[in-house]
């Protein structure tokens, strides 16, 4: 597993060296979301018995985790593919499981770091509870891993930066924005409530929010089951791609 350690170290060092862009910038974006939405909307509004601003904070934290975990693994892979430096990780004796685990772990770690950053800058704006902290940790990890793995699939599949941008803008962004970050899905018409239940990101945000307030749209056990099942499917696809050398080894 020595290859795994070195690859993980490299991936962490890679985003940490440009931390202003990879960690600080998304934290600022989330802070802006919070300030704008909470000042525009009625601050007295309550969702599931929780103040709107408090309700929104866990959603923003989880959204940051998911988006940044995806961005990390996908951008690392596409950059190294386009520049040709991917050869440095293809020539050594690194197995496909090690490869996958290292990229996914680094991605999840960046997601969690950004999430913690968002928590730090937003927690002073509205009171938060910690009704079930274990669920907070579980969804941090599962959410980061899921989107880190998804980023690996996208990074391997995409041949060009604009293909990856398409993935990000037309899939990841809508899935996260329409997942209940800014609202409870119970406030949606019935049809869209049903549609939301097909979005795995909804369960990540809902389960994560349960950790704070002890209330959620879906049961946290169900959310965890959906998260793990999605992780299993996405990880299997990524592992199959890596094992076959798809788009990496001709």
């Amino acid at each position: 597993m020595s290859g795994f350690r070195a690859l993980l170290h490299k991936e962490i060092l890679r985003f940490w060296k440009v931390g202003f862009q990879t960690v600080a910038a998304p934290v600022l974006t989330s802070l802006l979301y919070l300030l704008i939405f909470s000042s525009v909307l009625d601050t007295q509004t309550r969702i599931n018995g929780v103040r709107y601003m408090s309700f929104m904070i866990p959603g923003l934290i989880m959204m940051s985790v998911l988006q940044n975990a995806f961005a990390n693994s996908s951008s690392s892979l596409i950059q190294s593919k386009v520049t040709g430096s991917v050869i440095f990780v293809l020539l050594p004796p690194i197995g496909y499981v090690e490869f996958f685990t290292a990229y996914m772990t680094a991605a999840a770690l960046r997601g969690v770091m950004v999430g913690i950053g968002v928590f730090i800058v937003t927690c002073g704006f509205s009171p938060l509870e910690f009704a079930a902290p274990a669920w907070i940790l579980v969804f941090f990890v599962v959410g980061g891993a899921l989107m880190g793995a998804f980023g690996i699939v996208a990074g391997i599949w995409a041949d060009k930066f604009d293909q990856l941008a398409g993935f990000q803008n037309f899939l990841v962004m809508p899935l996260t924005m329409l997942s209940g970050v800014f609202y409870s899905i119970h406030s949606l018409p019935l049809f869209w409530q049903k549609v939301s239940h097909f979005n795995p990101v909804f369960y990540m945000i809902d389960g994560f929010r349960y950790g704070f307030f002890g209330v959620s749209d879906a049961a946290p056990e169900l959310s965890l089951a959906v998260g793990l099942a999605s992780l299993f499917v996405v990880a299997s696809i990524a592992l199959l791609m890596l094992r076959s050398g798809y788009k990496l080894r001709v």
Binding site: S2, K10, L13, T83, I87, L91, P92, G245, R249
Partner: protein, 312 residues
């Protein structure tokens, strides 16, 4: 000494293009081996299959007795590849790059060897500089250091001196020769045939994905011997009667083709007997470039019927 690298009936196609067409080749441990051929001959594809960057359609490739597909961890640990393209990771300094690369191969606490590499490749001053800030030649040195960071038994250099200055070439070859003397097997592809001639003990020439010549450098040169004697004479450069018809006039000099070196003496004697005086006398030896051109030319003739041309 055993076999360092073995290719057995290796074939690789890209769609309709046949990049490697049934190549079998064995390279001995400790050899300095040259892989030559024009662009698109299949050299880089062959190296890619060896290094696991590409997968052969059929055939077997082994490194130090290990199969490159089945035992890929063993083979990659024993291989150090300097790629042809000037690639680099823009996030890291030279030292970070080499430490990370060591880690990929499971080599920890490698600073002593990393320092030796930096020194031998004249990179010590740049150890803490980001790769982005380095010149092309310096980046090339880092690529070489990266390939050697785990002390591989087999070193593969794919056009390592393409576009680099004389100084780096000398530094590089001095270092690679030393590693070869210490027992490392070296496989080199290059367009600089004089490099191959002076460095490689044995050479394979590839064309259209096939081996068209495989022999020791010495044999290739002697079997394709093409010695010529060139002379210019004083007093009007008039050739003696007895020698006329045996030489051709090239840029003001009479050029005689020699079968053996013993052919020289009768030519000189004939000139002396005619009381002529030499203004200039030169023995022109065959070099690898002549052999290369001749082999490729001969092969072009026989390969015309093959619609599948190789690519790199």
């Amino acid at each position: 000494m055993g076999t360092a690298v073995s290719f057995q009936n290796v074939r690789k196609t890209f769609g309709a293009l046949c990049a490697i067409d049934d190549i079998s080749l064995e390279i001995e441990e400790g050899e300095f081996f040259g892989l030559l051929g024009p662009n698109g001959a299949g050299k880089t594809t062959l190296i890619s299959c060896l290094a696991g960057l590409a997968r052969a359609d059929s055939g077997d490739i082994s490194v130090m007795g290990f199969d490159v597909v089945r035992d890929y961890r063993e083979t990659r640990r024993r291989l150090g590849v300097v790629p042809q393209e000037l690639v680099f990771d823009p996030f890291f300094t030279v030292r970070e790059t080499l430490r990370i690369q060591s880690g990929y191969f499971g080599v920890r606490k490698n600073d002593a060897w990393i320092n030796e590499l930096l020194e031998n490749l004249d990179l010590s001053q740049k150890a803490d500089v980001n790769l982005r800030s380095l010149s092309g030649g310096m980046k090339r040195r880092v690529l070489i250091a990266q390939a050697l960071v785990h002390k591989p038994q087999v070193i593969v250099l794919d056009e390592p001196t393409a576009g680099v200055d004389v100084e780096l070439r000398q530094i590089l070859w001095q270092f690679i020769r030393r590693l070869n003397r210490e027992g490392h097997t070296v496989i080199l592809t290059t367009h600089y045939l004089e490099e191959a001639e002076s460095l490689c003990e044995r050479i394979a020439m590839l064309n259209h994905g096939r081996i068209v010549a495989l022999d020791t450098t010495r044999n290739l040169l002697s079997e394709n011997a093409n010695r010529m004697l060139s002379m210019r004479l004083k007093n009007g450069n008039l050739l003696p009667e007895t020698l006329r018809g045996r030489a051709v006039l090239d840029k003001g000099a009479w050029v005689f083709r020699l079968n053996t070196l013993e052919d020289i003496e009768p030519l000189l004697a004939a000139v002396r007997e005619s009381a002529q005086v030499f203004e200039e006398l030169q023995l022109v030896q065959t070099d690898l470039e002549d052999v290369f051109v001749r082999v490729m030319h001969a092969n072009e003739g026989s390969g015309e019927g093959n619609p599948k041309r190789g690519l790199e």
